[in-house]
């Protein structure tokens, strides 16, 4: 049986509001307010084109969303030292422009192979939200749409997304502001991401994902578990333990090695003991 997204097609007013973001961009909490349509660049250096550097069907994610057809778009608002996508994520000139014909062909290719969901990943799709909304608007009968994000977007961005995605997958990367600043170059992390997690939980299905980082048990993992317990105890929580040192991880001593064996099991035990809704 073919399943379709239950998300709403954005109306013309919302598309216009989204497109206006390119003229004064407040899509992420860098709040650069630059005119991307006229060639100005903010922190992400993205213009108005969304570029695809990879797409494929992925089985290695939470069972309820796989097989998922992942659309990797280049450009990101964060600079995580351990990013698995590396230069493709950070350089919005990577990949090729994703136009409507290519998007529709890719969606058809995925559907023929029985994908359960269509997933936007990056980089960070939020910085390309206007272009992506337009692509999805012109392509009816999509599979359920998953928006995988660093959750550094603004309330304005989440407002534009509301109703247009079926599942938010949030990368809850850090458990404190200092690690976020040191490893990803962003400030005020906990209050921004915490606010957005609660916004998303009210508006769509939400999966909160955390990639375990070596040496970040007490400063990041345990505070995240505690935050989830306090604020979103019923939300779906997913622990990823496949960390490998990539990109610029070697610049940080604790990130130069894989996780110790057994850390994933220990993390899952802690999350279960805290009463979280662990799904992976």
């Amino acid at each position: 049986m073919t399943r379709c997204s239950t998300a709403l097609v954005p109306d013309s007013e919302r598309l216009a509001r989204a497109r206006a973001q390119y003229e004064r961009c407040l899509l992420c909490e860098h709040r650069c307010a630059v005119n991307r349509a006229s060639g100005e660049h903010g922190a992400c250096k993205a213009g108005t084109e969304v570029r695809l550097f990879r797409h494929r069907i992925e089985y290695g994610e939470e069972p309820e969303i796989v097989p998922s057809h992942l659309f990797y778009v280049s450009g990101c608002d964060l600079r995580c030292a351990f990013c698995i996508a590396g230069a493709n994520a950070f350089d919005p000139r990577r990949g090729r422009v994703l136009d409507q014909a290519e998007f529709d062909a890719a969606v058809a290719w995925g559907r023929e192979r029985g994908v359960r969901t269509l997933q936007w990943v990056g980089g960070e799709p939020t910085i390309h939200l206007p272009a992506i909304l337009e692509l999805m608007t012109c392509s009816p009968h999509l599979p359920p749409v998953v928006w995988k994000s660093d959750f550094f977007g603004t309330p304005e961005a989440f407002s534009l997304l509301t109703g247009s995605v079926d599942v938010f997958v949030a990368d809850f990367k850090f458990g404190n502001d200092d690690c976020a600043k040191r490893l990803a170059g962003i400030g005020d992390y906990m209050s921004i991401v915490g606010r957005n997690l609660q916004l998303a939980a009210e508006r769509a299905d939400l999966i909160v994902r955390h990639l375990l980082l070596p040496g970040h048990w007490e400063c990041c993992f345990r505070p995240i578990v505690n935050w989830m317990k306090r604020n979103l105890p019923g939300a779906k929580f997913s622990i990823r333990d496949g960390y490998l040192p990539m990109w610029q991880a070697a610049r940080h001593a604790e990130l130069r090695r894989p996780l110790p064996p057994g850390i994933g099991s220990a993390a899952r035990q802690l999350a279960i003991a805290a009463g979280l809704n662990l799904i992976y």
């Binding site: 990879r54 089985y59 069972p63 192979r113 029985g114 496949g242 894989p258 064996p261």
Partner: protein
């Protein structure tokens, strides 16, 4: 539809302690891993889910 090389790649890292790290888990690689009977809980969950849902091979 053309695909670039990266869309076709699965990257597998085998750690000295026996752990297997897979980036880009395709259906075909999933079938190989099934034969290896992985002990890890998350992968077992995926295998079980796919066995039940009977997702067609790509």
């Amino acid at each position: 539809m053309d695909f670039d090389d990266e869309s076709r790649l699965t990257e597998i890292t085998l750690a000295a302690d026996g752990r297997v790290f897979v980036f880009g888990l395709s259906r075909e690689v999933l079938d190989i891993l099934r034969d290896l009977c992985p002990p890890e809980h998350p992968l077992r969950a995926i295998l079980e889910d796919q066995r039940i849902s009977g997702t067609p091979m790509s």
